[in-house]
Protein backbone atom coordinates (compact mmCIF):
# COMPACT_ATOMS: atom_id res chain seq x y z
CA UNK A 1 0.00 0.00 0.00
CA UNK A 2 1.32 3.39 -0.96
CA UNK A 3 1.00 5.82 1.95
CA UNK A 4 2.93 8.59 0.33
CA UNK A 5 1.58 12.02 1.29
CA UNK A 6 -0.34 13.68 -1.51
CA UNK A 7 -0.41 17.30 -2.61
CA UNK A 8 -4.02 18.33 -2.90
CA UNK A 9 -5.07 21.72 -4.19
CA UNK A 10 -8.50 22.85 -3.17
CA UNK A 11 -10.11 25.74 -5.04
CA UNK A 12 -13.34 26.96 -3.56
CA UNK A 13 -15.90 29.69 -3.87
CA UNK A 14 -16.00 31.93 -0.80
CA UNK A 15 -19.73 32.44 -1.11
CA UNK A 16 -20.48 28.88 -0.18
CA UNK A 17 -17.60 28.07 2.12
CA UNK A 18 -14.81 29.90 3.88
CA UNK A 19 -11.23 28.71 4.06
CA UNK A 20 -11.29 28.57 7.86
CA UNK A 21 -14.21 26.12 7.90
CA UNK A 22 -12.50 23.89 5.34
CA UNK A 23 -9.22 23.84 7.23
CA UNK A 24 -10.96 23.06 10.49
CA UNK A 25 -12.90 20.24 8.82
CA UNK A 26 -9.80 18.75 7.25
CA UNK A 27 -8.52 18.09 10.77
CA UNK A 28 -6.19 15.11 10.98
CA UNK A 29 -6.01 14.78 7.22
CA UNK A 30 -3.55 17.66 7.17
CA UNK A 31 -1.06 15.43 8.99
CA UNK A 32 -1.17 12.86 6.18
CA UNK A 33 -1.34 15.14 3.19
CA UNK A 34 -0.50 18.66 2.09
CA UNK A 35 -3.55 20.74 1.33
CA UNK A 36 -3.38 24.07 -0.43
CA UNK A 37 -6.65 25.97 -0.31
CA UNK A 38 -7.29 28.76 -2.78
CA UNK A 39 -10.37 30.87 -2.26
CA UNK A 40 -12.12 32.54 -5.14
CA UNK A 41 -14.69 35.37 -5.10
CA UNK A 42 -16.76 33.06 -7.34
CA UNK A 43 -15.84 29.73 -8.90
CA UNK A 44 -16.62 31.35 -12.27
CA UNK A 45 -13.49 33.45 -11.72
CA UNK A 46 -11.45 30.34 -12.28
CA UNK A 47 -9.34 30.20 -15.42
CA UNK A 48 -7.99 26.99 -16.97
CA UNK A 49 -4.48 28.14 -16.30
CA UNK A 50 -5.04 28.25 -12.51
CA UNK A 51 -5.89 24.57 -12.52
CA UNK A 52 -3.09 23.60 -14.89
CA UNK A 53 -0.57 25.61 -12.87
CA UNK A 54 -1.61 23.61 -9.82
CA UNK A 55 -0.70 20.39 -11.63
CA UNK A 56 2.46 21.99 -12.99
CA UNK A 57 3.43 22.92 -9.43
CA UNK A 58 3.17 19.31 -8.35
CA UNK A 59 -0.43 18.77 -7.33
CA UNK A 60 -1.43 15.11 -7.24
CA UNK A 61 -5.05 16.12 -7.35
CA UNK A 62 -7.06 19.31 -7.72
CA UNK A 63 -10.54 19.68 -6.30
CA UNK A 64 -12.83 22.52 -7.21
CA UNK A 65 -15.68 23.24 -4.85
CA UNK A 66 -18.59 25.18 -6.30
CA UNK A 67 -21.96 26.29 -5.03
CA UNK A 68 -24.98 24.08 -5.37
CA UNK A 69 -26.58 23.99 -8.80
CA UNK A 70 -28.84 27.00 -9.24
CA UNK A 71 -27.47 28.78 -6.18
CA UNK A 72 -24.55 30.72 -7.60
CA UNK A 73 -24.56 34.25 -6.28
CA UNK A 74 -23.54 35.44 -9.74
CA UNK A 75 -26.04 33.12 -11.44
CA UNK A 76 -23.77 31.09 -13.71
CA UNK A 77 -20.34 31.12 -12.08
CA UNK A 78 -20.58 27.47 -11.01
CA UNK A 79 -21.66 26.48 -14.53
CA UNK A 80 -18.59 28.18 -15.99
CA UNK A 81 -16.39 26.53 -13.39
CA UNK A 82 -17.82 23.14 -14.33
CA UNK A 83 -16.99 23.71 -18.02
CA UNK A 84 -13.45 24.73 -17.13
CA UNK A 85 -12.93 21.71 -14.93
CA UNK A 86 -14.12 19.54 -17.84
CA UNK A 87 -11.66 21.28 -20.17
CA UNK A 88 -8.81 20.60 -17.75
CA UNK A 89 -9.86 16.95 -17.45
CA UNK A 90 -9.68 16.70 -21.24
CA UNK A 91 -6.19 18.24 -21.27
CA UNK A 92 -5.02 15.84 -18.54
CA UNK A 93 -6.29 12.96 -20.63
CA UNK A 94 -4.39 14.29 -23.66
CA UNK A 95 -1.23 14.52 -21.60
CA UNK A 96 -1.70 10.96 -20.42
CA UNK A 97 -2.61 11.71 -16.82
CA UNK A 98 -5.63 10.29 -15.06
CA UNK A 99 -8.41 12.82 -15.65
CA UNK A 100 -9.92 11.88 -12.30
CA UNK A 101 -7.12 13.89 -10.69
CA UNK A 102 -9.31 16.91 -11.45
CA UNK A 103 -12.46 16.73 -9.38
CA UNK A 104 -15.45 19.02 -9.32
CA UNK A 105 -17.31 18.95 -6.04
CA UNK A 106 -20.64 20.66 -6.03
CA UNK A 107 -21.90 21.68 -2.62
CA UNK A 108 -24.98 19.72 -1.64
CA UNK A 109 -27.42 19.75 1.23
CA UNK A 110 -25.01 17.83 3.44
CA UNK A 111 -22.91 20.92 4.22
CA UNK A 112 -19.20 20.76 4.86
CA UNK A 113 -19.32 17.13 6.02
CA UNK A 114 -20.50 15.89 2.63
CA UNK A 115 -17.69 17.90 1.06
CA UNK A 116 -15.14 16.25 3.33
CA UNK A 117 -16.59 12.80 2.57
CA UNK A 118 -16.30 13.51 -1.14
CA UNK A 119 -12.77 14.74 -0.62
CA UNK A 120 -11.87 11.54 1.24
CA UNK A 121 -13.10 9.45 -1.69
CA UNK A 122 -11.14 11.68 -4.06
CA UNK A 123 -7.93 11.27 -2.06
CA UNK A 124 -8.43 7.52 -1.87
CA UNK A 125 -8.85 7.31 -5.62
CA UNK A 126 -5.68 9.30 -6.28
CA UNK A 127 -3.80 7.24 -3.70
CA UNK A 128 -4.85 4.02 -5.45
CA UNK A 129 -4.01 5.42 -8.90
CA UNK A 130 -0.61 6.59 -7.65
CA UNK A 131 0.06 3.18 -6.09
CA UNK A 132 -0.88 1.42 -9.35
CA UNK A 133 1.40 3.61 -11.43
CA UNK A 134 4.16 3.17 -8.82
CA UNK A 135 3.82 -0.63 -8.98
CA UNK A 136 3.71 -0.72 -12.78
CA UNK A 137 6.82 1.47 -13.13
Amino acid sequence: MNNQPLNIYLFHCTNSLDTETIRRSLGEREKDHTFKTISLPCSGKLELIYLLKAFESGADGVALVTCKHGECRYLEGNLRAQKRAEAVRAILEEIGLDKERMKLIQQGDGGVQSLIDELDRFIERIRNATAESFESS
Binding site: I49, F55, E94
Partner: protein, 222 residues
Amino acid sequence: MIVAERKKIPELVEMLKGHKKILVLGCGTCVTVCLAGGEREVSIISSALRIASRNSGYDFEIDEMTIERQCDNVFIEQAAEAIAKHDVVLSLGCGAGVQAIAERYSEKPVYAGLNTSFLGVLEERGVWTEKCSACGSCVLHKYGGICPITRCAKHMLNGPCGGSREDRCEVRPDRPCAWQLIYRRLKGIGELDRLKNIEAVKDWSTSLDGGVRMLIREDHRI
Protein backbone atom coordinates in the same frame (compact mmCIF):
# COMPACT_ATOMS: atom_id res chain seq x y z
CA MET B 1 -11.15 36.76 -39.01
CA ILE B 2 -8.91 33.72 -39.26
CA VAL B 3 -10.17 30.90 -37.05
CA ALA B 4 -7.82 28.24 -35.73
CA GLU B 5 -7.69 25.57 -33.04
CA ARG B 6 -4.82 24.16 -31.09
CA LYS B 7 -3.17 20.91 -31.95
CA LYS B 8 -3.39 18.12 -29.39
CA ILE B 9 -0.66 18.02 -26.77
CA PRO B 10 0.78 14.59 -27.83
CA GLU B 11 1.22 15.91 -31.39
CA LEU B 12 3.04 18.96 -30.05
CA VAL B 13 5.25 16.84 -27.80
CA GLU B 14 6.12 14.61 -30.75
CA MET B 15 6.96 17.69 -32.80
CA LEU B 16 9.12 19.23 -30.11
CA LYS B 17 10.99 16.20 -28.80
CA GLY B 18 14.72 16.51 -29.34
CA HIS B 19 14.60 20.22 -28.57
CA LYS B 20 15.26 21.72 -25.17
CA LYS B 21 14.68 25.46 -25.11
CA ILE B 22 11.27 26.17 -26.56
CA LEU B 23 9.61 29.53 -27.10
CA VAL B 24 5.83 29.35 -27.31
CA LEU B 25 4.94 32.43 -29.31
CA GLY B 26 1.38 33.74 -29.36
CA CYS B 27 -0.29 36.22 -31.66
CA GLY B 28 -2.52 39.01 -30.37
CA THR B 29 -4.85 39.30 -33.35
CA CYS B 30 -7.27 36.77 -34.94
CA VAL B 31 -6.15 33.71 -32.98
CA THR B 32 -6.54 35.64 -29.73
CA VAL B 33 -10.14 36.44 -30.60
CA CYS B 34 -10.90 32.81 -31.51
CA LEU B 35 -9.30 31.66 -28.23
CA ALA B 36 -6.61 29.56 -29.90
CA GLY B 37 -3.30 31.41 -29.81
CA GLY B 38 -3.42 34.52 -27.63
CA GLU B 39 -1.61 35.23 -24.39
CA ARG B 40 -4.02 33.08 -22.38
CA GLU B 41 -3.68 30.09 -24.71
CA VAL B 42 0.10 30.49 -24.74
CA SER B 43 0.11 30.04 -20.98
CA ILE B 44 -2.31 27.08 -21.12
CA ILE B 45 -0.40 25.23 -23.85
CA SER B 46 2.94 26.00 -22.18
CA SER B 47 1.72 24.68 -18.87
CA ALA B 48 0.29 21.54 -20.48
CA LEU B 49 3.58 20.99 -22.32
CA ARG B 50 5.58 21.35 -19.11
CA ILE B 51 3.40 18.75 -17.41
CA ALA B 52 3.60 16.46 -20.47
CA SER B 53 7.35 16.94 -20.67
CA ARG B 54 7.79 15.95 -17.04
CA ASN B 55 5.41 13.04 -17.51
CA SER B 56 7.16 11.63 -20.57
CA GLY B 57 10.73 12.25 -19.44
CA TYR B 58 11.56 15.01 -21.90
CA ASP B 59 13.48 17.97 -20.70
CA PHE B 60 11.61 20.91 -22.19
CA GLU B 61 12.43 24.40 -20.97
CA ILE B 62 9.49 26.46 -22.09
CA ASP B 63 9.22 30.24 -22.21
CA GLU B 64 6.21 32.25 -23.27
CA MET B 65 5.74 35.36 -25.33
CA THR B 66 2.93 36.98 -27.29
CA ILE B 67 3.34 39.66 -29.94
CA GLU B 68 0.65 41.82 -31.45
CA ARG B 69 0.77 40.26 -34.95
CA GLN B 70 2.92 37.42 -36.24
CA CYS B 71 2.19 38.29 -39.86
CA ASP B 72 3.79 41.73 -39.66
CA ASN B 73 7.55 42.34 -39.62
CA VAL B 74 7.22 45.38 -37.37
CA PHE B 75 5.86 43.17 -34.60
CA ILE B 76 7.98 40.12 -35.45
CA GLU B 77 11.06 42.24 -34.68
CA GLN B 78 9.92 42.48 -31.06
CA ALA B 79 10.43 38.76 -30.68
CA ALA B 80 13.95 38.71 -32.16
CA GLU B 81 15.80 38.64 -28.85
CA ALA B 82 13.59 35.94 -27.36
CA ILE B 83 13.74 33.79 -30.50
CA ALA B 84 17.55 34.02 -30.54
CA LYS B 85 17.70 32.55 -27.02
CA HIS B 86 15.67 29.44 -27.89
CA ASP B 87 16.27 26.30 -29.93
CA VAL B 88 12.84 26.26 -31.49
CA VAL B 89 9.71 28.39 -31.81
CA LEU B 90 6.27 26.89 -31.35
CA SER B 91 4.13 29.47 -33.06
CA LEU B 92 0.50 29.83 -32.03
CA GLY B 93 -0.15 32.12 -34.99
CA CYS B 94 -2.21 31.18 -38.02
CA GLY B 95 -0.50 29.52 -40.99
CA ALA B 96 0.50 32.94 -42.31
CA GLY B 97 2.04 33.91 -38.99
CA VAL B 98 4.04 30.69 -38.68
CA GLN B 99 5.47 31.19 -42.17
CA ALA B 100 6.24 34.85 -41.56
CA ILE B 101 8.24 33.93 -38.44
CA ALA B 102 10.01 31.08 -40.28
CA GLU B 103 10.96 33.35 -43.17
CA ARG B 104 12.29 36.04 -40.87
CA TYR B 105 14.38 33.61 -38.78
CA SER B 106 15.62 31.24 -41.46
CA GLU B 107 17.99 29.31 -39.20
CA LYS B 108 15.48 28.63 -36.46
CA PRO B 109 12.98 25.76 -36.55
CA VAL B 110 9.47 27.21 -36.35
CA TYR B 111 6.60 24.80 -35.77
CA ALA B 112 2.84 25.32 -35.97
CA GLY B 113 1.00 24.84 -32.70
CA LEU B 114 -2.40 25.46 -34.28
CA ASN B 115 -4.42 24.11 -37.13
CA THR B 116 -5.64 27.09 -39.14
CA SER B 117 -9.23 26.27 -39.98
CA PHE B 118 -11.12 28.96 -41.88
CA LEU B 119 -12.19 32.57 -42.31
CA GLY B 120 -15.22 33.03 -40.16
CA VAL B 121 -17.16 34.94 -37.58
CA LEU B 122 -18.12 34.47 -33.97
CA GLU B 123 -21.76 33.36 -33.96
CA GLU B 124 -22.16 33.19 -30.20
CA ARG B 125 -19.85 32.62 -27.27
CA GLY B 126 -17.50 29.79 -28.21
CA VAL B 127 -19.01 29.15 -31.65
CA TRP B 128 -17.36 30.20 -34.92
CA THR B 129 -18.67 29.59 -38.42
CA GLU B 130 -16.91 29.66 -41.75
CA LYS B 131 -18.13 32.47 -43.98
CA CYS B 132 -15.51 33.15 -46.63
CA SER B 133 -13.27 31.03 -48.85
CA ALA B 134 -11.08 33.95 -49.95
CA CYS B 135 -11.68 33.00 -53.59
CA GLY B 136 -10.42 36.35 -54.79
CA SER B 137 -13.53 37.29 -56.75
CA CYS B 138 -16.40 38.10 -54.44
CA VAL B 139 -19.94 37.34 -55.57
CA LEU B 140 -21.73 38.21 -52.33
CA HIS B 141 -23.70 41.06 -53.91
CA LYS B 142 -25.50 38.55 -56.13
CA TYR B 143 -26.59 36.31 -53.28
CA GLY B 144 -27.87 38.70 -50.66
CA GLY B 145 -24.60 38.69 -48.78
CA ILE B 146 -24.53 34.91 -48.26
CA CYS B 147 -21.66 33.09 -49.93
CA PRO B 148 -22.81 29.95 -51.79
CA ILE B 149 -19.21 28.91 -52.41
CA THR B 150 -18.41 28.75 -48.72
CA ARG B 151 -21.73 28.02 -47.11
CA CYS B 152 -23.30 25.59 -49.58
CA ALA B 153 -21.79 22.14 -49.07
CA LYS B 154 -21.88 21.65 -52.86
CA HIS B 155 -20.56 25.17 -53.59
CA MET B 156 -23.42 25.71 -56.00
CA LEU B 157 -23.65 29.08 -57.74
CA ASN B 158 -27.03 28.13 -59.25
CA GLY B 159 -28.93 26.47 -56.45
CA PRO B 160 -30.65 25.04 -54.60
CA CYS B 161 -29.66 21.44 -55.22
CA GLY B 162 -33.08 20.14 -54.16
CA GLY B 163 -31.77 17.89 -51.47
CA SER B 164 -32.36 20.08 -48.43
CA ARG B 165 -34.87 18.97 -45.83
CA GLU B 166 -36.76 21.48 -43.72
CA ASP B 167 -34.16 24.22 -44.29
CA ARG B 168 -31.32 21.85 -43.43
CA CYS B 169 -28.45 20.88 -45.71
CA GLU B 170 -28.60 17.27 -46.88
CA VAL B 171 -24.82 16.91 -46.59
CA ARG B 172 -24.68 18.27 -43.04
CA PRO B 173 -28.16 18.17 -41.50
CA ASP B 174 -26.90 20.13 -38.50
CA ARG B 175 -26.23 23.10 -40.80
CA PRO B 176 -28.73 25.37 -42.54
CA CYS B 177 -29.13 25.12 -46.31
CA ALA B 178 -27.23 28.12 -47.71
CA TRP B 179 -29.69 28.41 -50.57
CA GLN B 180 -32.59 28.61 -48.16
CA LEU B 181 -30.78 31.45 -46.45
CA ILE B 182 -30.06 33.13 -49.79
CA TYR B 183 -33.73 32.87 -50.82
CA ARG B 184 -34.97 34.33 -47.54
CA ARG B 185 -32.44 37.12 -47.59
CA LEU B 186 -33.13 38.10 -51.21
CA LYS B 187 -36.86 38.02 -50.53
CA GLY B 188 -36.35 40.21 -47.48
CA ILE B 189 -34.46 42.86 -49.41
CA GLY B 190 -36.74 42.70 -52.45
CA GLU B 191 -34.16 41.22 -54.80
CA LEU B 192 -35.64 37.80 -55.53
CA ASP B 193 -35.34 38.54 -59.26
CA ARG B 194 -31.64 37.91 -58.95
CA LEU B 195 -32.40 34.19 -58.77
CA LYS B 196 -33.68 34.29 -62.36
CA ASN B 197 -30.15 34.94 -63.56
CA ILE B 198 -28.01 31.95 -64.42
CA GLU B 199 -24.56 32.44 -63.01
CA ALA B 200 -21.78 31.45 -65.37
CA VAL B 201 -19.07 29.02 -64.37
CA LYS B 202 -16.81 30.74 -61.88
CA ASP B 203 -13.40 31.91 -62.97
CA TRP B 204 -11.14 30.28 -60.38
CA SER B 205 -7.99 31.98 -61.67
CA THR B 206 -8.26 34.43 -58.75
CA SER B 207 -8.25 31.57 -56.28
CA LEU B 208 -5.63 28.89 -55.63
CA ASP B 209 -5.23 28.17 -59.35
CA GLY B 210 -1.85 29.32 -60.68
CA GLY B 211 0.19 29.39 -57.50
CA VAL B 212 0.64 31.89 -54.71
CA ARG B 213 -1.47 34.99 -54.91
CA MET B 214 0.02 38.41 -54.30
CA LEU B 215 -1.48 41.80 -53.82
CA ILE B 216 0.60 44.79 -54.84
CA ARG B 217 -0.53 48.31 -54.09
CA GLU B 218 1.77 50.59 -56.06
CA ASP B 219 0.30 53.68 -54.39
CA HIS B 220 1.70 52.45 -51.06
CA ARG B 221 5.11 51.41 -52.25
CA ILE B 222 7.02 54.70 -52.11
